[in-house]
Structure formats: structure tokens, C-alpha cells
């Protein structure tokens, strides 16, 4: 075992193309699972974060507790959170998603609040002067103007989640992390490199994609960006 480890480390090249061509299905499945775990986490995170963000924005009373609680969740290391959940929810997608969603909340809520707070008072006043009711003002004025900050939060949350998904390999999920974990367990570099490169590439693609989507959907913010 010991000798094999030594030899493996010396002789094993960083990439064995033959392994890759023979495991395209495994790699694709890992990539797909990685994307699924990430999308589910960010979408559920948004579903929870939007109402909490609105409450935190409107109510000083709840703002402190909301930020403190999500801040504590954010600070707890991923491995600790996942393993603390295992005795209750087992080695499951549910365990992975509870952890992943927890980490998106602080980022998303903070950016929602920052975005809404940065809507200029005169804009809001003008909306009210035009006869907007509170709900209409929120949906048609406040939220659209907060979109750049909210999308910035979604981008950070997405990239962070893509990185964290790799850790869920330890609880039997993992997406591309399962390739990394496989490489670690077998002292075999190729899956490790493939998993890492694809994970980083996925993070960049997702980040650029979200940035592009934001430019498409908020044409008014483009003028500011190109200043």
C-alpha cells in the first residue's frame, strides 16, 4: 500500500487522456450533477432570500436577527455543516442541499437589502407622486432598480456554491467533487485534474453567463457600466 502510493505519485502523469476518453460518461454525469446541485441550491436560496431580504429591508427590528443568523450559517465550515446533518438526513441530496442553500442566504439577502436601499429616494417619491401603491412600487420600481445588486449577489452565491458542491463528495454527492475525491482516494491525478478544471471552468461560465443575462435584462444599467 505504502510502496504503491510512492510509485503512483512518481509515475502518475497529471493527465491520462486514455482515462478521460474511457470515462466520458462518468465525467458528463458528474458535470450534470454538479450543475443540478448548484442550480437547485441557488434557486431555493433565492426563494428563501427574497422574502427575508424584503423583511430585513423594511424592518429594522428583524434586520439584525436575519443577518446574524445567516451570518452564523455562513461562518460554519462546510464540512462541519454537512457532517452535522448526516445523523439526521443521512447521505443524501437533501443533506447536501440544506448545507448549500444555507451558504447562499447571507450573500443573497445582503445584496437584496443593499440593492433596495440604494434606490434613490427621489425615484421612490416620484413613483408615489405618480400614484403607485406600495406593492406596485415594490414590483415595478424598487425591485427592477435593485436587480444589478441582486444579480451581483446571485453571481457570488453561484460561484461559491459551485466550489462548495465539491465538498459534498464526502457525503456521497459531489458532482465534479466526486472525481476529485476519487483522485484523492486512489492517488490518481487524472480525475483530480479533470474535476478541478471543469469546476473552475463551470464557475467562470456561470459567472459570465449571469453577467450577460443581467446586461440583457437591465438595459438601463448598461449606460452606467460603459461610462
Amino acid at each position: 500500500m505504502l510502496a504503491a502510493g510512492v510509485l503512483g505519485a512518481i509515475d502518475d502523469p497529471w493527465i491520462r487522456w486514455s482515462w478521460i476518453s474511457g470515462h466520458v460518461d462518468v465525467i458528463t454525469a458528474a458535470l450534470v450533477q454538479h450543475i443540478q446541485l448548484t442550480v437547485i441550491a441557488v434557486v431555493i436560496g433565492l426563494v428563501i432570500a427574497v422574502p427575508l431580504g424584503l423583511v430585513a429591508w423594511r424592518s429594522r427590528l428583524f434586520r439584525g436577527p436575519i443577518f446574524s443568523l445567516t451570518g452564523i450559517l455562513y461562518t460554519i465550515p462546510s464540512l462541519a455543516l454537512f457532517s452535522a446533518l448526516v445523523p439526521f438526513t443521512g447521505f443524501s441530496v437533501l443533506t447536501a442541499e440544506i448545507g448549500l442553500v444555507s451558504y447562499t442566504l447571507l450573500i443573497l439577502i445582503r445584496n437584496i437589502v443593499v440593492g433596495l436601499t440604494s434606490v434613490p429616494d427621489d425615484v421612490r417619491e416620484a413613483a408615489r407622486g405618480m400614484g403607485f401603491r406600495p406593492l406596485a412600487e415594490l414590483i415595478r420600481i424598487d425591485l427592477p432598480l435593485a436587480i444589478p445588486a441582486i444579480v451581483a449577489g446571485v453571481r457570488i452565491a453561484t460561484v461559491t456554491t459551485i466550489g462548495l458542491v465539491t465538498v459534498t463528495a464526502l457525503i456521497g454527492e459531489g458532482g465534479l467533487g466526486s472525481l476529485i475525491y476519487d483522485g484523492l482516494l486512489r492517488d490518481f491525478r487524472t480525475p483530480l485534474v479533470v474535476g478541478t478544471v471543469l469546476s473552475v471552468a463551470l464557475a467562470f461560465v456561470a459567472d459570465l453567463g449571469l453577467a450577460g443575462a443581467q446586461r440583457l435584462f437591465t438595459p438601463w444599467s448598461r449606460a452606467r457600466a460603459t461610462r
Partner: protein, 248 residues
Amino acid sequence: MNFANQVLQWFLSGAHWQGDGGIPHRTLEHLAMSGASVFTAALIALPIGIAIGHLGKGGNLAINISNIGRAIPSFALLVLAAQVFGIAAASQVVGFGAVPAFVALVALAVPPMVTNSYIGMREVDPDVREAARGMGMRDRAVLLRVELPIALPLIMAGIRTSAVNVVATATLAALVAWGGLGRFIVDGFGLQDYPMMFAGAIMVAVLSLVVEFSLAGAQRLTTPAGLRPSKSARKEEPIGTALDTAMA
């Protein structure tokens, strides 16, 4: 309740408090490794970030480095470091993973510190800088007596972000054969000893929160009195988000 009781029993067992594998030793190990990594990373990152911010050049690099850092999974970074620094043989023996863990943690800690110290230096009001020059301060004095004190809270925020990341990732280092509190979690997994795993998770979580809160306190103390936000404004900056605030 049965499970909670098992966890409690685990904590109460005297054997878990003794020797190299005991709670005190593992905690110290965790803190020593994290402290050494953050300190080394600060020696590398702060001069770079401060210099870039002071000279006003290379700002894109300073901003992008933390985005790149975020995109590289810390788990992958650790496993890669373990391969590069050849612990294949040593990894069979717990405790020899110190070098790869250290290198990975330093690499992880550098980007937020570069970015935050850069932003801290850039956010110094140009009027203030001008005023300092008008008062006859030389470049060095402007840097040391005006820019750095004003930038200090953000510099501290970068250190805090990095430190919390490092303490968290040091837990993962148990996977590449290093010690620290992550050992209880990883060994708990391996032995299917869930009370031990859960106890490890609690200890790691508590340690992270202690580090976060004490560094948040340190950050407040380093803020010059004139720049301290009022009590109500303070609430708006949640913990653990110094870097992200800067990036948003």
C-alpha cells in the same frame, strides 16, 4: 435524545481530552496551522495590495484575483497541493500532511487580503490625500500616517475573511492526512462513529464563530474613531461578508 446523549458522552469521556489525538491538542494544532497560514499569507498579500492601492496601478489584477480565488474549490486546492508536494507515502501516516495543507491554506488566504487592502487604499478620499500633501507631508508620511490608518479597517476585513476561510478549510485538510479538528469529523466518517463526527462538527463550528467574532471585534478596534459608523449603521454590515461587500 439518544443521539444527543451519545454526543455528550463522547465529550465527557476523559480519553478524548488526552494525548496527540485529544481535543486540546487537535484544537491547538488547528489554531497553529491557521495562524501560521494567515500570517504567511499576510506577509505576501498585504504589501502587494497596499502597493497596488497606493500607486493606483494594477487594480484589475487586485480585483480579479479574489474572483479567481473564489472559483477554485478549496477542496481541490488541498488535494492538488497534496499531489504536488508528494505526500503520497507520508499520507498513509496521519500528521504528515502539514506541508501541503499549509501551502493550500496560504494560497487560499492571499486573494481576499490583496483585494481588500487594495480597495481600502483606493477608497481613501483623494481630498484627504491632497490635504495631507498640502500640510507638507511627504509621500511616505501620507502613506503611513494617512492612507494606512484609513485603510486599516478594510485591510482587517480582508484578514478576517481569509482567517475564517482558512479555519474552515483547515478542517478539510484532515482529508489529506493532516490533523486539526477535522480529524474527528473525517475519522468519524471512516469509523461510522457519528457521535464523534457530530462532536467534531460542533467544535469546528464553534472555533470558526469564535475566530469570526474576535476578528470582527479587532476590526472595530482598528477603525479610527472618526470613521466609526454610528450604532444604527453598524447593523447593516453583517458578519463574514467583508470581501463580498467590496465585490458587490
